[in-house]
């Protein structure tokens, strides 16, 4: 285009010169012929550019939309071309409609039942009384009928001295009165803890848990 303009300018300059009029008209004719000869290229060039861009666009679009398996196949013949077959061995009765939801509706009841079945009982006099350390005193210990477990009661002073150990009591058994198993105590009022240990069976390995009652043992 620049050349064309230059030629055009050159042509105008030559037209303005009177001396070289004849010479200029000859040059003008030559220039016009050159322009005429270049004209088709001036139209073809943009068309070719457009076609190139269009072709590139089509190629890119085709590559993007191409099936990956087919594309791979075209590149490498060793890739398996068959889609996986749908197996019919699945259990169709397991299929349900809808989205996955956490189903814990019965879980709360199960947890509560588990707790209720393990209910243990703690029954004892809050102030067992002994006339002296060698006398029988009232304890009022009970493992009621509704209990499911064995239990043993151990009474300790708050400084850890063992005062009394009961035999293992089965459900529906009680100790109304008993002797202290440790008679080495002077007269006085002792702040004690009665530990109730629970067992599912008559062996230590079946230990379930413990409870504690705070009591005052009085030895006159």
């Amino acid at each position: 285009m620049r050349d064309y303009e230059k030629e055009k300018t050159d042509m105008n300059i030559s037209t303005d010169s009177g001396v070289k009029k004849e010479k200029g008209s000859m040059t003008k004719e030559r220039n016009m012929a050159a322009v005429k000869a270049r004209k088709p290229f001036l139209f073809i060039l943009p068309v070719m550019i457009c076609l190139t861009v269009l072709t590139a666009g089509v190629v890119i679009a085709v590559n993007f939309t191409k099936d990956p398996v087919r594309a791979a196949t075209e590149q490498d013949d060793t890739v398996v071309t068959d889609a996986p077959e749908i197996s019919t061995s699945g259990n169709s009765s397991a299929v349900k409609e809808g989205e996955l939801v956490s189903n814990n509706s019965g879980e709360q009841e199960r947890l509560n039942e588990l707790a209720e079945e393990s209910r243990v009982y703690c029954i004892i006099s809050s102030a067992p009384y002994f006339q002296d350390a060698g006398s029988m005193g009232s304890l009022s210990i009970s493992n009621p009928e509704e209990s499911r477990y064995y239990m043993q009661v151990i009474i300790k002073t708050d400084d850890g001295r063992e005062m009394y150990v009961s035999p293992l009591l089965a459900p529906d058994e009680k100790i109304e009165s008993d002797y202290l198993t440790n008679k080495d105590f002077d007269s006085g009022e002792y702040h004690c803890y009665a530990y109730f240990n629970y067992y599912a069976d008559t062996d230590s390995a079946s230990y379930l848990g413990s409870m504690c009652a705070e009591i005052n043992v009085v030895i006159d």
Binding site: L114, M211, C212
Partner: protein, 202 residues
Amino acid sequence: MKRKNGKKNFGVLMAVMFVVNMVLGCPGVAYAADSTASTTVNGTISASIISVNVPATLAFNIDPNNSDGDQASKALIQSNTNAPIEVSINGGGDSFKQSVESEWQPIDYLPDELAWEKLGRSDSESSLALGLLICDQTQWRTLNLNDVLWVKELAGMDGYAVIGQLDPNASAEITFQTCHGNSFSESKVCTYNIIWSFSLAD
């Protein structure tokens, strides 16, 4: 009229003197002290019997796929004592702790010690914050536990952590609260032991 009044006054005077004489002069009055019988009344009050029952086993279920899916047993503490009862747990980590036989043995944490939702698999499978929670505050005569009592918090306590006091022959529910990660490659079962302590309330 005057004469009548004089007679009447004389009669009243005689009656008064007679009564005074009877009171002051009668030997029977002095003798009455010797005949007084004293009765000794022996009042025997039996000691109250503490009678309480609670579940020995409490369980909870963690659902890492549902933020509202965690569930725990509701434990009913039932007092059959005819007096108010104080409920407490001994501090120091012996009375509310993981069982040595627990299948899953996570490390106890306080809830604000970890960013629970961001925990990966190994941290999720080794960390837990478990706490005791009161279900209904109105079930208690007095309540000392106004928030969750965490296992780790109790382990650092001296003495007893008093939960509250129950009215005579009353019951109250407690449950558990947990903080945990959400990345578990398998289901977990863990067991905690609580040694409840009961005493007559002041």
